[in-house]
Symmetry: C2
Subunit: 360 residues, 2 copies
């Protein structure tokens, strides 16, 4: 798979899998922050140093491919158009920061985009592994393996007391950030989200919207991740997050049962109306699309809508983002109203099972 197909495709291949608790847990992610010993952190390094880092880390590509049995490629961010970079952000392959400051930044990415390694983001190395459903252990094992391959070649900055050294102190220690993406529509409808968010925060976790810090919880999609990286082992961090997520999943599940028991008719009407609007609207904002997609996904999970298109929601989450739409349109910069119309076209074609029709 080339970077072009990675940008152009509707969805990253790894996302099509189901995974455990996949009616509620969309995906799991683990990332490790690492830095080359004795070399300034990226925000303190000049272009020559940064290029050297890319050069050195890029040499690991053949070994990564050999060790994992899957092809990896190195992509220099400066070779991509801004639009292509932002599509990668929407697909959660790179961070907004890497897209924004492309000069002397690079990406090592695995064929199906389940593993991506950002070079010269905040740290020299950000190893990120994703998996569908609730699969924190698998994602961690995958990241750990990549880490081993890299560490066999490079000396990482490490201190007996503080663990792995990172540009930002919040990442010190394990350098591990684990997170899960949860779809919590029933907790949204029954107005229990604040309670859940507060509880998770008190347990040392951070709760964010679909696109990381500062993004709103559009479409009832939330990211829960560990705050602390220091003072706990990787396993403890994973276990703690796993335990909280399992409880949130249970809460969401009982809220869904309650909705079905106490207001199935109203819920069914709500879900089908959203489906009807998505199916026929000629213009729709990103915010509204996410809200309606969330309800339709809930309807599918509860058997209100009977469809074989299980990954519909995940796909449309990506396909209705502004940069992906801009990429699809292939034309000059889309004005907001033209983008809203294209978004409606994309959704309509997708729901009608005519995938490519809108790319006329």
């Amino acid at each position: 798979m080339s970077i072009e197909t990675m940008v152009g495709g509707q969805i990253s291949p790894w996302m099509t899998g189901g995974g455990r608790e996949s009616d509620i847990v969309l995906s799991s992610r683990v990332r490790l922050a690492r830095n080359l010993d004795g070399i300034p952190f990226p925000n303190r390094a000049d272009t020559i140093v940064l290029q050297g880092v890319i050069q050195e880390l890029g040499e690991a590509v053949p070994e990564l491919s050999a060790a994992t049995g899957k092809p990896y490629i190195l992509v220099k961010m400066g070779k991509l158009t801004p639009l292509e970079r932002y599509v990668l952000v929407e697909k959660h392959i790179i961070s907004p920061s890497l897209a924004q400051h492309a000069e002397s930044r690079a990406l090592i990415v695995e064929e199906d985009a389940a593993v991506s390694i950002m070079i010269n983001e905040e740290d020299h190395l950000r190893i990120q592994c994703m998996a569908p459903g609730l699969a924190l252990t698998e994602a961690f094992q995958s990241a750990d393996k990549i880490d081993d391959v890299m560490e066999a070649r490079h000396n990482f900055g490490f201190n007996e007391q503080m663990g792995y050294l990172t540009a930002c102190p919040t990442n010190l220690g394990t350098g591990l950030r684990a997170s899960v993406m949860l779809h919590l529509p029933a907790l949204g409808i029954t107005r229990q989200l604040n309670r859940i968010v507060n509880a998770a925060t008190q347990l040392g976790l951070a709760v964010r919207g679909l696109y990381g810090e500062g993004s709103e919880a559009a479409g009832n999609v939330f990211q829960i991740s560990n705050q602390l990286t220091l003072g706990h082992t990787e396993q403890e961090i994973i276990d703690n997050l796993y335990s909280v997520v399992t409880q949130v999943v249970e809460h969401e599940r009982s809220a869904r049962c309650m909705l079905m028991r106490e207001s199935e008719n109203a819920l069914s009407d709500k879900v089908w109306r959203s489906y009807g609007i998505l199916r026929y609207a000629r213009s729709i904002s990103g915010q509204e699309a996410l809200a309606m997609l969330s309800e339709v996904r809930l309807g599918i999970d509860l058997g209100i809508i009977d469809t074989k298109q299980a990954s519909l929601f995940n796909e449309l989450l990506i396909m209705t983002r502004p940069n992906y739409l801009q990429k699809v349109s292939g034309s000059n910069l889309l004005a907001a109203d033209a983008r809203d119309r294209l978004r409606a076209d994309v959704i309509r074609s997708k729901l009608a099972g005519r995938d490519e029709e809108y790319v006329k």
Copy 2:
């Protein structure tokens, strides 16, 4: 056609025709008020007198059939259930007053329900003729013919100065009330309705909602009728109404053109969203159904929605009324929420082209 099929059918046969200006004018109606000479008006007559009136007027049925070539039947209101009577109201075959006070009231009705003659409503005789589209002259000619047949048998109360005598002075003279039912969505969207209503009122016409006096203009459907019956000939009354209606039709038509010219995208989105909701909702109130049906009908008229189901709107106007739904359900009295669900079922089946599916 029996009265049972007349009540049970989705739509009166005459309504399926198109007629002139039928994109805006749904139907035309003319009614003549007449009273038997020397017999007290219904509100002053006792049961014996009222029964005598039914008896006497009912004898005209064979002559009506012979003169028009279409079968007529006499239906005593007391023989119908209240529900059946109110379905006839929703189909505009009888007035709410005749349905409410059924005792000693009757109806003579032509096979396709284009002609209905109420006996012992406010007057002894209310001859009502309906036609699709803008067809006031045809409706008047039809009523005039019925009037001739009846007048050949009966002496009607008549005074050289005041014309035909009626129970209420507002009907004195010609006893003629002509009206048209107009669908004015574009004037609604562009907020010009008040101006139109005021102008029509100043020209001596009355403007009402879908179900007569006091009813709201749900679904942007308006009835325009003459107020004055005295001091003008029948032809003058018809001509005046015709002239005003023609102007209103022109206003609606230019409002539609303006909408298409200046905001086709927004209009198309609005129309299709309404279609999507009607097509998939599981519960819908009468008010909301009318509003959405109005937008869908506008979409059909403007070619935004391409459908062969031209009479869809007229049919669904009737099919989604409370009493018709109660009749369809065939069960005990429907609670409001069950009725809203049945309404959604009826609309959904109809739009999917599966007419009878909901009558399970």
